[in-house]
């Protein structure tokens, strides 16, 4: 590192407006990502200072481990040496180190961790020791042992046999030999730390290349801080599984470089780590990331390279926005509002909605780029679906009054990118399917998350029964969690993208309402959903299906209430069914459409 002066109190990071706006529009090239990384580095240093200052003020935070002064000295030493300065920076910029730093500071501030605090705070010594090992510098220190493991960030996990609970390891590295000792158990780490041994699990790297551009990421199954916040145990992948991941990533990288070159260029700079998640029971793909770990993503292994490419785009969008959010606030104050997000089953805070819209803007761009490359006409549904979901979320953001000036600028940037896309033509089945899929979700969400005014519901139910008697009802409003299968969205996709496959599915499956609805057998679907609701008034999937069958069948009056305020129709119907009143859900919806406005006048409407 070259000459440097004191900390300039006026030298704050500035971010070029062009880069900001480019990122807001869903993009952001390598230079913009590099600027985000530079600011993330400042943030990491500040996190280190906060943590070590806390440890200096409260020596018990490091317990039996070397004190904060030792950590500072080692950091200074490694930064001052040309051979280790870049390595130290690389270790400090490791996404998992960011997760750990935030976790440790929260743990100290909140004092809620049951484990000894030195187990959390002492990871700083693991970081400096790892940097020393990597750069060939001699070092000796004490390291925390968590459930028999000592993590050396960016290198791997040393494993002591038979150790449960916290322990302290003496760690020495000199002349290329690294050893760790707890009591009589001594581990000599392999000379080549990229290779496993009985006591060492390396942090594997996956390097893939396409069109001359390389992506190099860790495939992390060992670092306790590879998850979202709290430490997790290692889950070692077999060599076969790693090979599978490498092949998938290679395919995904080729896809991204062939159709989304700018995205790939940015990822090659910013994406650093993938942490595999256990497979979902239902086989669905899951992914996650945290703003504390810029450039990292957790994910189940997707079924295809296309799916992996889409997931990488999704999570990298979060990293970019997370990096910007570290530089300034986009939402004013502590927002308690709750919003509908087309991709979530539950209400979302404004910040969460913002993250989701940005991620989906990236997904929309991905599918659009696939179409532009002429890859697969079936991608039209995914494009139409993603852009509609994005628009619905974006519209809610644009109506919000809680955005800061920076937040508004960002949202406007997203809108500027999305608007022209909304006018682009897609196939009729894709357009039709995407409308039904998003409407299906919205109705299902309202049924499950919005509570109509109980007085309105009671009044309307009483009116239906034609009585003015007061019906004793001590029971509190039951708003139980209603299961959600999301099956129809899959069927819409198949119907739009692979009609032959949908026909085959219909042929081999027992008849059911969902297949009938998506396949255009509207009368049959309507009958089936009504029957389901007579059996179970809480069937949220059936409410949405009923609404869509009404729309598809051209029945005007009932569908309006089911579309706009399904929670009112379902609320009234459920109350009547609890009172053991025989009634038909469609008739109730029609009743609500005719009388709902009157009953609700002057009262509160539905609320989450």
């Amino acid at each position: 590192m070259g000459p440097a002066g004191p900390v300039n109190p006026a030298a704050y990071h500035v971010f070029p407006e062009t880069d900001f706006d480019e990122i807001a529009r869903g993009g952001g090239g390598p230079e913009a990502i590099a600027r985000l990384l530079a600011s993330e580095y400042s943030r990491r240093l500040l996190l280190v200072k906060v943590l070590l200052d806390l440890a200096s003020a409260h020596p018990e935070l490091l317990g039996p481990l070397p004190p904060a002064t030792a950590a500072w000295r080692e950091l200074e030493r490694l930064q001052a040496l040309p051979q280790s300065a870049a390595v130290l920076r690389d270790v400090l910029m490791h996404p998992q180190l960011g997760v750990w730093l935030s976790h440790a500071i929260r743990a100290v501030k909140n004092r809620v961790r049951p484990t000894p605090m030195w187990l959390e705070v002492g990871q700083i010594h693991c970081a400096t020791f790892a940097a020393a090992v990597r750069s060939g510098q001699a070092a000796q220190t004490l390291l925390p042992v968590r459930e028999g493991g000592v993590i050396l960030p960016t290198l791997g996990l040393a494993r002591f046999a038979g150790l449960n609970g916290p322990a302290v390891a003496t760690a020495v590295t000199t002349h290329g030999v690294t050893s760790l000792r707890v009591g009589r158990q001594e581990l000599i780490l392999p000379h080549d730390l990229t290779q496993d041994s009985d006591c060492w699990w390396s942090l594997r790297r996956l390097d893939v290349s396409a069109v001359g551009r390389t992506l190099s990421v860790y495939l992390d199954d060992v670092d306790p801080f590879r998850d979202l916040a709290d430490p997790v145990p290692p889950q070692r992948l077999s060599d076969t599984a790693v090979t599978g991941w490498r092949e998938l990533l290679d395919g995904a990288w080729h896809i991204l470089n062939s159709c989304a070159g700018e995205t790939a260029a940015a990822m090659s700079v910013g994406l650093r780590s993938l942490a595999p998640l256990p497979e979902s029971r239902d086989g669905s793909t899951r992914s996650a990331s945290t703003g504390d770990g810029f450039g990292a993503a957790l994910l189940t292994r997707p079924p295809t390279a296309v799916s992996l490419a889409e997931t990488l785009v999704h999570e990298f969008q979060h990293s970019k926005l997370g990096g910007l959010l570290h530089l300034g606030d986009f939402v004013e104050g502590d927002d308690e509002s709750r919003h509908y997000a087309p991709w979530r089953d539950d209400p979302r805070p404004l910040g969460g909605l913002l993250q989701g819209v940005y991620a989906f803007l990236g997904i929309t761009a991905f599918w659009r780029s696939r179409l532009e490359c002429g890859k697969d006409p079936a991608d039209q549904f995914d494009y139409a679906f993603a852009r509609r979901q994005t628009w619905i979320g974006l519209y809610a953001l644009m109506k919000s009054r809680r955005l800061t000036e920076l937040g508004e600028r960002f949202v406007n940037g997203m809108n500027a990118r999305l608007q022209p896309w909304m006018a682009e033509r897609v196939s009729r089945t894709a357009l039709h399917g995407s409308w039904y899929a998003t409407t299906d979700h919205r109705i299902g969400w309202r049924v499950r998350n919005l509570r109509p005014d109980p007085d309105v519901v009671r009044e309307m139910a009483d009116s239906w029964m034609g009585a003015n008697r007061a019906v004793p009802d001590d029971r509190p409003w039951a708003f139980s969690a209603i299961p959600w299968s999301h099956r129809r969205v899959t069927l819409y996709r198949i119907h739009a993208s692979a009609p032959e496959r949908f026909l085959a599915l219909q042929a081999k499956s027992a008849r059911d309402a969902d297949l009938d609805l998506v396949g255009g057998e509207v009368t049959e679907a309507l009958t089936a959903y009504r029957a389901r609701l007579r059996d179970n008034a809480d069937d949220g999937d059936a409410w949405a299906g009923l609404a869509l069958a009404c729309i598809a069948g051209g029945r005007h009056l009932p569908w309006r209430c089911l579309l706009r305020r399904p929670e009112l129709a379902s609320g009234v119907y459920r109350r009547l069914r609890r009172l053991r009143v025989k009634c038909d859900p469609l008739a109730i919806a029609q009743w609500c459409e005719q009388h709902g406005a009157t009953a609700a006048s002057g009262r509160r409407r539905s609320r989450p």
């Binding site: 440097a4 530089l327 979530r344 993250q355 991620a359 679906f385």
Partner: protein
């Protein structure tokens, strides 16, 4: 400090060219604004949790 036009000012102090030794002994007041924002961000820890298509969640 005057910023050139075309840039967005942030609340994060620039430590990219600061020696760690200097940072260690830095007056807390110099870092106060950035530290305050940083701690607020950490307290409002948020993870992006998703599931695959359809119905990806964020």
């Amino acid at each position: 400090m005057d910023h050139p036009p075309g840039v967005i000012k942030t609340v994060l102090i620039d430590l990219t060219n600061v020696h760690i030794a200097t940072l260690r002994h830095c007056d807390e007041a110099v870092l106060e604004l950035s530290t305050r924002h940083l701690l607020h961000q950490i307290e409002r820890h948020r993870a992006n949790i998703g599931s695959g298509p359809p119905g990806r969640v964020d």
